[in-house]
């Protein structure tokens, strides 16, 4: 009885409801920006963690895995304490703006990217690294090539991070403030409708979210070819 028809949700989207479109655009915008930031920082970090030996490496890896589970409200609180008017970065007036959400979500995404990139690279053939060294690839060139060879893992890491942030509500709510027409995302809208007791609408929004996320996902999958020929069991 609570489950809306899939059609109902798509109907909402298709009807081009201006508010729904704006909310959806916000969700995508925040998630994509934060994932890109996290990827730009996290992929190199994951590679360094894999390729370098340093004291405490195992602890670093464990910490990174642990931070994947960072509760979104905690991230929200931390960023809040930085960006709020009384915080050290209060002067920029970033609180309750898209920028604040993106910062929070990037922080959420970062350990996911680092951990999963590490996890993927750690399984690469050791000879790949040696081959690159011996062929004289510079550090940057090695990195690029390793990422290309491990593109399944890297793509999976990025997709996972994207999925995580697009579906998270804590940081978006705390940092964006769920301001209508400005920082409201699908997830904060869902939270709002749920609090209103409008469960059906919530689920419909959830379906919209999944459809949108699936689109992004499928596109990226297609791009990196999750199943390169001859490298799969």
């Amino acid at each position: 009885m609570l489950l809306p028809s899939f059609g109902e949700a798509l109907g909402l989207l298709a009807s081009g409801d201006r508010e729904l479109l704006a909310i959806t655009a916000n969700s995508l915008n925040f998630a994509i920006c934060s994932t890109v930031i996290a990827a730009l920082i996290g992929i190199p970090l994951g590679i360094v963690t894999t390729l370098r030996e340093f004291p405490g490496k195992r602890v670093v890896i464990s910490v990174s895995y642990t931070l994947m589970g960072l509760p979104t409200v905690v991230v929200g609180l931390l960023v809040f304490s930085l960006l709020s008017r009384s915080g050290p970065l209060g002067g920029f007036g970033l609180m309750f703006s898209p920028a604040a959400v993106i910062i929070g979500q990037a922080i959420l995404a970062l350990p996911i990217v680092v951990s999963l990139v590490y996890g993927g690279l750690a399984r690469l053939d050791p000879e790949l690294y040696e081959t690159l060294i011996t062929l004289g690839a510079s550090r940057l060139q090695r990195t690029v090539k390793i990422v290309r060879e491990a593109r399944i893992s890297v793509a999976a890491a990025v997709l996972t991070a994207f999925g995580r942030v697009v579906g998270e509500v804590g940081a978006a709510m705390m940092l964006g403030g769920n301001i209508r027409w400005y920082t409201r995302t699908i997830t904060t809208a869902i939270a709002l409708e749920t609090a209103k007791g409008a469960f059906t609408l919530s689920v419909a929004l959830g379906i919209v979210l999944m459809v949108v996320a699936f689109g992004v996902n499928f596109g990226l999958n297609y791009l990196v070819k999750l199943r390169p020929r001859g490298r799969i069991l």
Binding site: F54, E130, L135
Partner: protein
Amino acid sequence: MSAALEISGLRFTYPDLDGARTPSGDLQPTVSIDELSVSAGEIAVLIGDNGSGKTTLLKLVAGLLTPDAGRIEMPFSQSRSHGSHGGAPAASSVTTSCAARGSAGGGLTAEFAAGFTGEFTDAAVLVHQKPYLFAENVFANVAYPLRIRKVARAEVHRRTLTALDTVGLKQLSGRWAPSLSGGEKQRAAIARALVLRPAVLVLDEPTSNIDYGSVRTIEAVLRELADSGVAVVVSTHNMASAYRLADCLVPLAAGRRQRLAVNLLRGRAVPSEDGHIGVFRTTYGPEVFCPAGWEGAGTAVVRMDDIILSTGEMVSSAQNRFRGTVVAVEPIEHDLFCVELDCGIPLSCSLTYRSVEELGIASGAAIHAAFKASAVKLY
């Protein structure tokens, strides 16, 4: 000839990352090479049993492993900095060891010290025993080292196709590399190293999965490369290939150089009048009788055991009889000695202590050496 690769006092042991898993009592270094030098234009061939340290030595030369002690110098390398890799815990001890030997090496000591952390990769390129091909097509694999060096497109194209042609893979250049057959992969990897024309080319069992006909092609390529001034270091289990290729044959056992147990003669087997017996004209001049039917072979191998010495002229069925002088007598192990002769061609043979005593063999003594034609193996 100037040495393109000089190794001295090299020691390496795999760090015991997980003591519980390695058998105890195996405390000697994995590789322990007191001296080895390979000149530009020379091919050095490492032979030895499985686990004797060939791959380890080659990786050390290629800078992929860091020696515990000793030095590896490549005076011709134009070292290019790629930053360090894998960390260099032993770097300081290496430098110390170099300093201790004073200026004996000359040349690139400073660059060398840095070299252990990955900087002479341009000089020494390694082709792995189980090559890793990138997940892209064959052409892109072979072109990769050129592309990262920003070589012009046309040049990349030309050199890549040449290299592919050299190893006989031109028609597969568009194929998805991971789907190649075992030998095709090995050849693609060789081509990928060839395009670089490095000062020192290091190949780990390059022909182990390559078909009989193509082995000869690869050998010819390596020889050609050497002739163009590259120092080539290969390991192999294919003795025929080793004999054919080696300017310097390096037997390894338990990571140490062993004494060579054969005489390796270069030259050419020529047609002989007598159909029962062949003739091998050595590069030193003198001819050696050998089995018939090997016309064209370029290498003759005579085991040191198969050479008989006597003080006077011998009458025997041994077709090859030489007069010469003893150059050196050296102990090999407990009861055995190695006697080096100059008979127009240099020959070494192994003798027991008793024989050395009986024949009164000493440096400078005149001597007769003999061996059967059938003791000569041609390659």
